[in-house]
Symmetry: D2
Subunit: 400 residues, 4 copies
């Protein structure tokens, strides 16, 4: 048992820490105005810089051609999470592109790879993943209603999606769309994934969803999209027909772990802001730092963040060592723990900042909204708890 | 001891309930877009309607020329809180105008009353209250730094304020500004309030503050304002020089109680949405209503809201019977309980709604942000707790 | 709406407060040693004193021949809850005798009343109620397994009960035993109640159950009892055959409300001890009262207790005004709120007292164990929540 | 970074797991009756068995002559914590003897070692540590009032101690007593430790303190002791005069870590009982395991225990690698987290067990009382939080 990071990790961490200080934090003010559903121009510069520093596509697992293990990537994802709207994207490590690149690596034909994967790896284009539907509980994927009907050499897609992240931006050139291809099949063979290029006739991007008051416009927002008789060639099928469910499963694994890693960094950023504010602000004749309630929050936050980090690192280690499937219990656990912990820490940091804490003058309110949203982003907490509990009861009590 | 509302209250409640159904809820979609810092045109119609129904200026206490006691007003304020961006304003019962009207009733000269109070009571203009400053902990008012120096027949005001609600809107014609007039005096004689008309030279309205991404633009937002050598005639002094602290104290009493009443309604609205969603949405083969976690939230929410309502009504009864000063313990208690309870209930309602719950498609996210903001709006929770605890320890243990 | 107690209540409260100070609190040390399953001799003196002061059998509702309404009794029960092992019993207002007396008032034949009710009202004997069984979830009464078979002029009882409170004491002369008389009937007609005198052959009192180490010996403990071919005359049937479920329902209503009232007093007692300790103990150069964590607990405790008291009083008012059946929502609410709130307050008071707080030197640990136990005593919290939630969902969403 | 236990740990774990199953769990019924302040005879057999299996004195750190590192010992201490009244003692790894043996290893003269350390290592005698006093906040050691005055070749001790664990048992032959030897000195030189043999004239063991209703009699309880002119030879000084504070510091370090390790095991034991009960008990037509509230508790408990274990292991690793002083932050963190987490898990397990859960029929209520007590045992939570918060603020904000 050894809790020290290895040298590769330490080297990357040092490089990333430098980059955060010199480029990312100073760029944050460019991202607070929410306009035009487009990335601010500085993003291109940040990407060039990150790439030149060897901080590019690090999310790709070692066994998929990447350079780092999951465990090595975890502390880097944590650090990038300290500025979650900018750092991951500048390193080409942001959702939903990461998940989409993994999908394409896994299942794309050579032609599909050339057309979409290569430009994504180069960040020349962005992509979207279109699965969630307004009429369906996102926690129970078996209800997807969007249909894709094979007609001759084409699929014709009809349905309504929402929360398609990034889709409002014109950078987003390709949509991976989950649709029912065989309604009579059992769930595992019912769905397929189709590649739909931006601008395909019949695809109507209706509006951007807000998260609390945020549009996330600088990232392309979260679109509601109507597919009204959208036709794509059969060659745009990703993998095989009926493989949609299995691919979604594969796609969501690592991405969710990445979210958890970044949530540790979000919490740590809020923690530092809280400590600094507590040290620097005086009320009722005493620094905030000496008010017992504030001390209690800081101590609890320290304990909770440290616990969360260890849990996330342990899950990463399990994935590397035994595979994602064997690590399901550990993955469920961090999905439960990470958004809740980060949300709690950020909320306390907000309280220490007073009214400024809920405003645009600190990253805290935005971090909070992000953490809150992640309690749904891949199924609500309660579903992860149900899954984990049933697994544990079966293990302990021999009951399934 | 009798827990039944009296007939006057029941009559008003019935009338208000009708108005909410017929006019307020249908108007809500007009208020979701946040643009231009101005009220949507429909607000004028709603006001005319409310006035014609006898639902106008009900906030004014009976002993200040109003028609209702605090206890009678409480259930009405609760009901208006179910649509907090629209209903209170449509009845001319919204902050900060209510507090400002009370201030003017209390301390204005006949000329000031004619110029500002009358149009406010008629809702021909709106007003702002400018006290909080960026560099000062709002929990400890003794630090206000904005200066007003008497020079001949004028006061010259210099300083920086923020969170001046409503100020971004051109409807807002008059600003009540808290400033230091005698820096050498003890806190209770140090401050004065001055009436500053919109457009007075040197007053620069810099920007609107956001609350979790929301601008509250349809209400005139929350402005940061620089006062740079702003000159007003000495006749614009409200009350007497040095009376600012006492007036602020008087002003904030009822307004804070109104917030608490409305928070009960915010929680009740969220509760109803949660119950309906729980009944109507099915996941994993069972209605959400039968999932144990959801049942637990609904039961806890019912208990918490009922307790909160009783606490608020009891405080209102204490104010009517013994005066606001004697009811300080009760007022502190509801300031602690109301935002926390409402925030908790709304958060659970959000969770039951899934991703839709954080979006603009339900009022929940906006209600949550409102409740969260009220944990600072007149001093953070922790200050109210300190005050209440010290009072109780003194009472129980004879220690002050 | 009026939150003031009426004169009758105030008069009784004053008399009870005097009695608590002069007799009850000073008697507490007699009850800390847990020996011999018997009441300390001082209990007889306390009873005589309470009776002479007109503080006797106040629990009996006005419409059952008592002197007070439920609402009038509530503040008195609260005050007696401040010393829950002594005060209620000294006033002949302690469970399980109160519930048993109500049962006998409701359903006993004249002969049964003379033999058992009269001596109970005089406190010449004590009684037990034997329903819960070790093998059955107490939350789901439909599983009771103890059988009573009619044979000639007798019932023959076989089964195992536990948590039969008071039964270890020789004062306890009569047992009301719930048993299945018609196993084939639907739940509402399946059970009957039988009167079993102490010492009936075949009744084996096996052992006293402990609650966090406490035996509650001075009250007769909580027995596990085996009924092995116990025979009682058919005249010992209480009410009619098959009426057991309905009687249990009737019995448990008020008793549970009494528990809730007393829990308010338990919390208030702990609150006062906490305030006094906070004022009197200094650590790290400051009185505990000025440590922020302690201030926060005291403020939160004040708010929670006040809310709980109002909720309990409101439920009592509903019972008086509309009957216990119409007040089911309110009764569920206080059953959820009261033990949880009291437990929380007592736990914080313990923390303020340090290690002494968990010891026999303060009543706190015992109060805590009592409050914790009441989270099962008439079904676990979760069942009350399920019931309340389903009722609310049906009400709000028209779904049952 | 590597999360796997090493082979030495795995080997010991396997051996200990076997011993728990074959000897410890079956012996638990012998320890539920609380009588006579003495160990049940079976303890001697268990000790012999543990010793023969190489499970003896494992607590001794490798660098003090022991066989295991702190990190290797941690999982073993966890497992022994599953039966905390029996397993640690049977392995000669129970407090307060472990801390006392460490003290003697550190500071005893050869004569003292021979007289007291050797028999303790052999478990021929037991020992006590007498520091806490009734009149002093145990969180602030600087207030100790017991005096030891040098008179000729003796020290004369006067004072009152309580919570001296183990002292009620006649097995306990030696008391290490903390007393003021130089009242005028600064705190770090004010205290000394003295060895006081059982039966020294003037030492009056007054009574056993209870923890909730438990006496912990089978372990010798927790005594209140009066020292009334107790005389011991100067040779009974442990270490040097004035060294008492430093020794107490040294003593408490590892012992507190051991408590935390065992608390993980206590939580895990409760978790298993909860899972089994949830699987085996049916209410309202469904196994408890399928009730959402229970699922939520089980999932949360899994997450919390896993986080706690990792935090404890990480602290152990820090101690081994950098020393206890450098690991102070990590040690504070586990002292905060461990009792709270274990208490939470046990409380939920109790709730799943219904009334049986608070009784003597399951180890849960006893585990809960133990965990609750450990929130004071070496200073209350709030002190650890203050210490940790101040350290973090200094680190992050450069403020001390």
């Amino acid at each position: 048992m050894d809790f020290a990071y290895d040298q590769t990790t330490e080297d990357h961490l040092e490089r990333l820490a430098e980059f955060m200080e010199s480029h990312i934090y100073p760029a944050e003010p460019h991202f607070t105005e929410e306009v035009a559903w487009e990335r601010p121009p500085i993003m291109a510069e940040l990407r060039a810089e990150a790439r030149s520093r060897g901080l590019w596509n690090l999310f790709l697992p070692k066994d998929h051609g990447g350079t780092l293990t999951t465990l090595q990537y975890a502390p880097l994802a944590e650090m990038s999470g300290r500025s979650p709207l900018i750092a991951p994207e500048s390193m080409n490590c942001a959702a939903p592109d990461t998940g989409n690149m993994e999908l394409l690596t896994l299942a794309a034909t050579p032609a599909q790879r050339e057309q979409w994967l290569e430009p994504l790896l180069d960040a020349r284009i962005r992509s979207a993943f279109s699965m969630t539907e307004p009429e369906v509980a996102s926690s129970d994927a078996s209800n997807i209603a969007t249909r894709a009907v094979r007609k001759g050499g084409e699929y014709v897609i009809d349905g309504r999606k929402w929360w398609t992240s990034g889709a409002m931006s014109s950078d987003c050139k390709i949509f991976i769309v989950m649709a029912v291809t065989d309604p009579g099949a059992p769930p595992r063979g019912r769905y397929s994934m189709l590649l739909v290029p931006r601008g395909t006739p019949g695809m109507h991007i209706k509006r951007g969803m807000r998260v609390f008051g945020y549009t996330d416009g600088t990232h392309g927002g979260h679109a509601e999209i109507v597919f009204d008789g959208v036709r794509v060639p059969a060659a745009n099928l990703l993998g095989e027909e009926g493989q949609g469910g299995a691919l979604a499963q594969a796609r969501l694994g690592p991405g969710r772990v990445h979210h958890c890693m970044r949530l540790v960094g979000m919490a740590e950023r809020a923690f530092e802001l809280m400590c600094k504010r507590a040290a620097g602000r005086t009320t009722f004749g005493r620094p905030l730092a000496e008010h017992g309630a504030v001390e209690g929050w800081i101590a609890d936050a320290r304990v909770r963040i440290d616990q969360l980090r260890l849990l996330v690192l342990h899950a990463a280690w399990m994935i590397d060592k035994h595979g994602a499937k064997a690590a399901r219990r550990e993955i469920s656990a961090i999905k439960i723990a990470a958004p809740e912990t980060a949300g709690w820490v950020v909320d306390k940091a907000i309280q220490v900042h007073g009214a400024g804490g809920v405003s645009q003058d600190y990253p805290l309110a935005m971090l909070w909204a992000g953490a809150r949203g992640l309690r749904f982003a891949d199924g609500p907490d309660e579903v992860h708890k149900m899954v984990l509990a049933r697994r544990e009861i079966a293990r302990v009590a021999g009951r399934s």
